[in-house]
């Protein structure tokens, strides 16, 4: 176990030292929050009870989690697989599955500070006021439900190579962000796009947060969709990993 925690710590240190990673993960959600905050639009996607600045904060939390997970898993993983480092780890006594598990864990660990940071920006610049317990509960909710993003990021890291990683990650970031209704409330989108949004994990992630803040019961559908994505992506990741393993690539 100490080997695993050493590896997880090693991964985390590498992530937090990377300026490129930090600039993208912290920069995107915070800058977008500030940019869009000035728009006095209705953020009312649930019975008009959620003001724009709150909608935007939750959306940017989701976007931040997405960006962090896709960059921590996706492009970085593809790069280090290309350098041969992943293979070097495979020939240590560390069990093969723990490489994947540690990657997902490290992604989850970097998602947490991003959520806190966006909430802090929401508090200071957006004037979002919640009870202390609500802040904690919201953070916990958005953090645990970010698991499908972390699995997606690692899966993408296994599917792409060092060259295709950046375009693929960028495309996913904006597809899941825009069509998931993170920049524009879903019920203000054209009908066709609304149904598309409801198929994306990013929509359901943000929606859980909004439901929570508007005092509603959290929708079972949202949980199910997120759990479904986690399961399907997890299986896909396992399949891809096994495939590479049998070819001696993983």
């Amino acid at each position: 176990m100490s080997a695993l925690s050493a590896f997880a710590r090693f991964e985390l240190v590498r992530l937090l030292r990377s300026w490129k990673f930090l600039a993208i993960t912290v920069g995107f959600p915070v800058i977008f929050y500030m940019l869009f905050l000035g728009e006095r639009r209705s953020g009312a996607i649930i019975d008009g009870t959620v003001p724009w600045r709150v909608y935007l904060m939750v959306s940017m939390c989701t976007f931040g989690a997405l960006v962090a997970a896709l960059n921590a898993g996706g492009s970085r993983l593809a790069t280090e697989r290309a350098t041969g480092w992943a293979r070097q780890l495979r020939i240590t006594p560390m069990p093969a599955w723990s490489y994947v598990v540690t990657k997902v864990t490290a992604s989850m660990l970097v998602v947490l500070p991003v959520l806190v940071l966006v909430e802090l920006v929401g508090f200071t610049f957006g004037g979002v006021r919640l009870a202390v317990i609500q802040w904690f509960a919201l953070t916990g909710l958005l953090w645990t439900t970010a698991l499908p993003f972390a699995v997606l990021g690692v899966f993408v890291g296994f599917m792409v190579n060092a060259e295709t990683a950046y375009p693929v990650v960028t495309a996913l970031m904006f597809v899941l962000g825009y069509f998931g209704g993170l920049f524009n409330p879903v019920n203000q989108m054209p009908q066709a796009l609304q149904s598309a949004a409801k198929a994306l994990p990013s929509f359901h992630h943000a929606f859980l947060g909004l439901e929570f803040l508007s005092g509603q019961t959290l929708g079972a559908v949202n949980w199910l969709v997120l759990a479904g994505y986690t399961g399907v992506l997890g299986l896909a990741l396992l399949w891809k990993y096994r495939l590479e393993e049998s070819r001696g690539l993983a």
Partner: protein
């Protein structure tokens, strides 16, 4: 997977560091290893010599459990390849193509510290630094190393777990002449501690100078196997060909320098370690001949000539 039938009760079993028994490995239709049989005993330093694509890297990947054989058995330190890796008894330096094989964004000391943590009984940090000669590099970022420096660091990572058995796939590929010399000196010292070292190379010189034993692999098979010191002489081997009225092999076998005789109709080919002496002796013997021709033997032939171990008789099996 079909298990090849080899004798498990081999009397030398206890001394064996690794063993291939009839191993077949394909990539699609390409046959990378073609019923490879090979044994390496504990403490040996063995070079796998062969041209690119001969199957050396595939053999090493199989020994590390990175690949599974399609047929045959592989035994590493008395167990399976995967088990030997899981026990931490094996270390390796693999080919990394254009990559450094190192994690980007950390110091060399951090990478080494992590890899040590992954083993239950690693070698001491200081011993590993000393053995690989990476003291001056510890504070450098892994992405700021030269090719040769990165190779040394990768060697340190390969031995950080204090392995009994080490595999090196073209370990000196990015090193200059001095770097190579230093590297092999360190390697020899490491091997003298009773460890088994198997390295792949396509440099004859390197195999010859560094290994106790050279195993020549081509087309996925062992074509020759013998002590490295004789290799240099082996490359001096030549084919002496001529047409003779009397194609009786026994008449040519005793000519100076000849190690092997092949007769095909009236054509005679002598494999000789000293073509000049053989030609002189042939003239002196008074045997009538014509169309004398001397050509360089290929490494494979040279090795056969020297070690007396013929290539396997049966032709390459179809897929």
């Amino acid at each position: 997977m079909v298990d090849a039938d080899w004798d498990v009760t081999d009397s030398r079993g206890g001394d064996l560091a690794l063993r291939f028994g009839g191993v077949v490995r394909r990539y699609g239709r390409h046959l990378a290893l073609d019923h490879l049989d090979l044994e390496v005993r504990t403490g040996e330093m063995v070079a796998l010599l062969g041209p690119n694509g001969a199957g050396k890297s595939t053999a090493i990947a199989l020994l590390l459990g990175l690949l599974r054989p399609h047929e045959g058995t592989i035994e590493v330190l008395g167990t399976t390849a995967r088990q030997a890796v899981a026990q931490g008894s094996v270390g390796a330096m693999l080919q990394t193509g254009s990559g450094s094989g190192l994690p980007p964004g950390v110091k060399v000391s951090e990478a080494l510290a992590l890899v040590r943590r992954l083993y239950r009984q690693p070698a001491s940090f200081e011993a590993t630094v000393e053995r690989a000669g990476i003291g001056p590099l510890l504070g450098s970022r892994t992405n700021a190393l030269s090719g040769g420096e990165a190779q040394r660091v990768r060697f340190a990572l390969a031995i950080a777990g204090d392995p009994k058995l080490v595999f090196l796939d073209e370990p000196t590929v990015a090193m200059d002449v001095d770097g190579r010399r230093t590297f092999w000196r360190m390697m020899r010292q490491f091997g003298e501690e009773g460890r088994t070292i198997v390295f792949a190379t396509h440099h004859l010189e390197e195999a010859d100078q560094s290994a106790d034993r050279v195993v020549v692999i081509n087309h996925g098979r062992v074509v020759a196997d013998g002590p490295g010191a004789t290799l240099k002489a082996a490359v001096a081997a030549r084919h002496v060909r001529f047409v003779a009225a009397d194609p009786d092999p026994d008449r040519y076998d005793r000519l100076e320098g000849v190690t092997d005789v092949e007769v095909c109709g009236a054509g005679v080919t002598l494999i000789s370690l000293d073509a000049d002496a053989t030609a002189r002796d042939l003239v002196r013997s008074g045997i009538p001949f014509k169309d004398l021709e001397v050509t360089g033997a290929c490494l494979e032939d040279a090795f056969v000539a020297l070690t007396g171990r013929a290539c396997r008789d049966e032709p390459g099996r179809p897929l």
